[in-house]
């Protein structure tokens, strides 16, 4: 006998059990990995996705697959959402959301600092389809209010945002959006459902790059979209299944395995990040440390209110960042100089402000630039603090920060 309702259980229990119903035939306790691309169906099964209602009858794996479905149930339980759709990558999830909600003539308000691939998409691809884009600093509610137009369909935020770790007040922005009849989407990759549950704060959609903390082991790309059935059931038919950026069952299985340890990993990521942030704050070569768990973070009060866990990403500035980046790449022994984040391993990467302005963010108002500079200066290291012993991480930094 096993339970299917996880509304009253703790996060660890959900992380392990939700979605993973023992196989009805073999009673296998660990989830099966169903690789089959097609499923034997009844003779009256339709050939078009139009007649497709629930995602628990199996026809073709792009439409739905038992292993992917188990992951979707687990994600939904963790975010306390009605339903979830898994994608091949975080960008796959974002694309499906945008192309579902927006058509030519519509308008989107988007954070001026987001994951770079989305920012770049908002620079070219989206406006190219005659969809209007306004990029604002979403930590400023007034800026959002000012940006809203008659044809605004979606407000899209990231909190904490990548790479600045600037926060946005989800509850406040949700009320602004809803007063204007606009949907709110929140990329919660940095926070994870262990820290923040944006849907409970009023958001309509949550986006995750499962590649990061949820998968947690740096070995499977994936993305997810969470929200109400009313929103996501048509989205699944229209853009998830038809655009085809679906997750592979094997990655779904690996990510599910990763989620089993999500709550205990997040606890250690936070514990280590707090120690490392404290160390960096006291280091003479470090100009500035940004971490939502530090009282010095400009939005520390909001962080405490909105995040049950401060997660494991720290950004910091040093003098001569570009030079220091070279030293890090050469001298660090444990911490890897690599992009991505949220892995068991510590990863660090330098983001040069000038380069980023040219390639991605293209911030044009003085206020937006001032906010960027205030957080990032000439450039920041984005440091994804891993699960190693904190003493070893600090010793590694100490060696390379001389």
């Amino acid at each position: 006998m096993s339970i299917t309702d996880f509304s009253h259980t703790g996060e660890q229990t959900k992380a392990i059990h939700a979605g993973e119903i023992p196989d009805p035939i073999t009673k296998a306790s660990a989830p099966n990995l169903v690789m089959s691309t097609t499923f034997v169906v009844d003779a009256d099964t339709g050939f078009s996705v139009e007649g497709f209602e629930d995602n628990d009858t199996w026809i073709y794996t792009r439409w739905g697959n038992p292993t992917i479905h188990q992951l979707e149930l687990k994600l939904a339980a963790l975010e306390q959402s009605e339903t979830a759709i898994a994608f091949a990558s975080g960008m796959g999830a974002i694309t499906a959301l945008l192309f579902h909600l927006l058509k030519a003539g519509d308008h989107i308000v988007i954070s001026d600092v987001t994951y770079a691939a989305l920012t770049e998409m908002a620079n070219d691809l989206i406006p190219g389809l005659n969809i209007e884009v306004t990029k604002v600093n979403t930590s400023d509610p007034e800026a959002i209010r000012r940006a809203i137009q008659q044809n605004t369909k979606l407000i899209y935020i990231e909190t904490p945002c990548n790479p600045l770790l600037r926060l946005t007040d989800i509850e406040l922005i949700a009320s602004i959006a809803h007063q204007a009849g606009i949907k709110l989407a929140v990329d919660s990759t940095f926070a994870t459902p262990i820290a923040t549950k944006p849907l409970l704060l009023g958001a309509d959609f949550v986006i995750h790059s499962l590649t990061k903390y949820l998968g947690g082991h740096g070995d499977a790309l994936g993305g997810a979209l969470l929200g109400s059935k009313a929103d996501l059931t048509p989205l699944r038919k229209k853009t998830a299944i038809r655009l085809g950026g679906v997750l592979s069952p094997f990655n779904a299985w690996l990510i599910m395995r990763g989620i089993a340890t999500l709550p205990i990993r997040m606890r250690v990521h936070e514990e280590n990040a707090l120690k490392v942030a404290g160390y960096l704050e006291n280091h003479p070569k470090v100009i500035k440390v940004i971490y939502p768990g530090l009282p010095s973070h400009p939005q520390y009060e909001l962080a405490k209110r909105q995040m049950k866990n401060f997660s494991g990403i720290i950004t910091f500035q040093v003098e001569n960042g570009s030079e220091q980046a070279k030293i890090f790449a050469e001298k660090l022994q444990i911490i890897h100089y690599a992009v991505s984040l949220g892995h068991h391993r510590s990863l660090i990467f330098y983001l040069n402000s000038k380069d980023l302005m040219q390639s991605s963010f293209k911030l044009n108002t003085p206020e937006q630039l001032a906010s960027w500079n205030n957080f990032a200066g000439e450039g920041i290291f984005r440091f994804s603090v891993g699960l190693e012993d904190a003493d070893d991480i600090i010793a590694d930094l100490e060696r390379a920060l001389r």
Binding site: M1, S2, I3, T9, G10, E11, Q12, T13, I16, H17, P22, S29, A30, P31, H217, G218, D219, R257, A260, T261, I264, R265, R267, V268, Q333, I334, H336, A338, H343, H344, R345, L347, G386, L387, E388, D389, D391, D392, I393
Partner: protein, 389 residues
């Protein structure tokens, strides 16, 4: 990674064996690739490329795991096999020959006993089973021909401990080899080689893998000669862990420290809960002061693990009913996974042992073994509570 020995357990668990490859043509992967190739090409006829010839002998993914396994036990060498029993078979075939004598703990895992008593029955070696709770019993069992002493600590399911250091001294004095099965505590809580054992064996299916989705066995040791013997037999017998399973095991190890801390914390809380429950006659957990070897547990280990055995009041039918009422605890054999498992040894893991013998050694009809998972402990206690009522 110049001084691996100086790193903490978690750092080793994440990094050893998986340093990114920055050589010409390499890709800098931060996790080891799954090398599925069974054979490796050469440039020169008489030179295997980077030592690789054929996956049974050496495979890059398995090698990464073997290096990591060794580092966790502070060992020089590690081996990965297809199951705990494959690891044990290889040890026995490597180290014991006809005419030799083995001393083994009388409360060994049933599968190990079956292997020794039945599979190797005609192999011509002799076995004495002793209660190794008292090292004197081990001392008394030695013969001229004793080659091997085989311990589990704690044992399954009665959680009896043996004093590894004391027994290693006795074993060394007699020139024999001490093998310790460390499955129940994992290297995170107990390091038998540091306590004087010669060989450590694990079912990595349990805590090391940790997700109940990959079988495996491990052997760790320090001595060069023992290494050569085991390596020769690993390759000759061929029960090597496949690359894919090696990868999953490596992946599990990355959270071993975190998981063990949680297993231990949850188990301690559940053990205290059970001890106070009116329907529970007896709780066996090394972390409880009531455990007769609690003091030894504190000296020899840095934690008590996630396995608890307890006896409930009533009949075997009532025990069955209790188990079948549980929602979160899966009624299943095996242990050490993130999810909680429960079983009734009398009808499941130890069903092959005759009732009289079972009762004699302490496995009554209502003795229940739980492998406490890493769920929220309040949910686990709620589940037990509703099943008691």
């Amino acid at each position: 990674m110049a001084n691996i020995k100086n790193y903490g357990f978690s750092t080793k668990a994440i990094h050893v064996g998986e340093q990114p490859d920055f050589r010409e043509g390499a890709t800098g992967d931060v996790v080891i690739p799954i090398h599925l190739s069974t054979t490796f090409a050469r440039k020169k006829v008489d030179e295997p490329t980077a030592g690789y010839e054929y996956t049974r002998s050496l495979n890059p993914t398995r090698n990464a795991l073997e290096l990591k396994l060794a580092s966790l036990e502070n060992a020089r060498f590690g081996f990965a096999f297809t199951s705990g029993l494959a690891a044990e078979s290889t040890i026995l075939l490597s180290l014991v020959k006809p005419g030799d004598h083995i001393i083994a703990f009388d409360d060994l895992y049933g599968g190990t006993k079956r292997l020794i008593n039945h599979v190797f029955a005609n192999f011509g070696f002799e076995v004495s089973y002793v209660d190794a709770v008292d090292p004197q019993n081990v001392q008394n069992a030695f013969k001229e021909t004793t080659k091997l002493v085989w311990l589990e600590s704690p044992t399954n399911p009665l959680l009896k401990l043996s004093d590894i250091k004391a027994i290693s001294e006795i074993t060394r004095k007699h020139g024999a080899i001490l093998v310790v099965d460390n499955t129940f505590l994992s290297p995170y809580f107990q390091k038998p080689l540091d306590l004087g054992a010669d060989v450590v064996v694990h079912s990595s299916t349990k805590y090391i893998g940790g997700h109940s989705d990959v079988l495996g066995g491990s052997v760790m040791l320090n001595d060069q000669k023992l290494f050569e013997k085991i390596q020769y037999h690993q390759n000759s017998i061929g029960a090597v862990l496949p690359p894919f399973d090696s990868y999953l095991t490596l992946r599990g190890i990355k959270t071993l420290a975190l998981r063990m801390e949680r297993h231990n914390e949850n188990a301690l809380e559940i053990a205290h809960y059970l001890e106070k429950h009116p329907k529970v006659k007896k709780v066996i957990y090394p972390g409880l002061e009531s455990h007769p070897q609690h003091k030894l547990a504190i000296e020899q280990t840095t934690g008590f693990g996630g396995i608890i055995s307890f006896e409930i009041t009533g009949t075997i039918d009532e025990a069955k009913e209790f188990l079948e009422k549980l929602h979160l605890f899966a009624l299943a054999e095996s242990l050490g996974g993130v999810e909680s498992l429960i079983e009734l040894p009398a009808l499941m893991t130890h069903a092959s042992v005759a009732k009289e013998i079972r009762e004699q050694i302490g496995i009554s009809d209502t003795l229940i073994r739980i492998s406490v998972g890493i769920e929220d402990v309040a949910d686990l206690i709620d589940d037990l509570e509703q099943a008691f009522n």
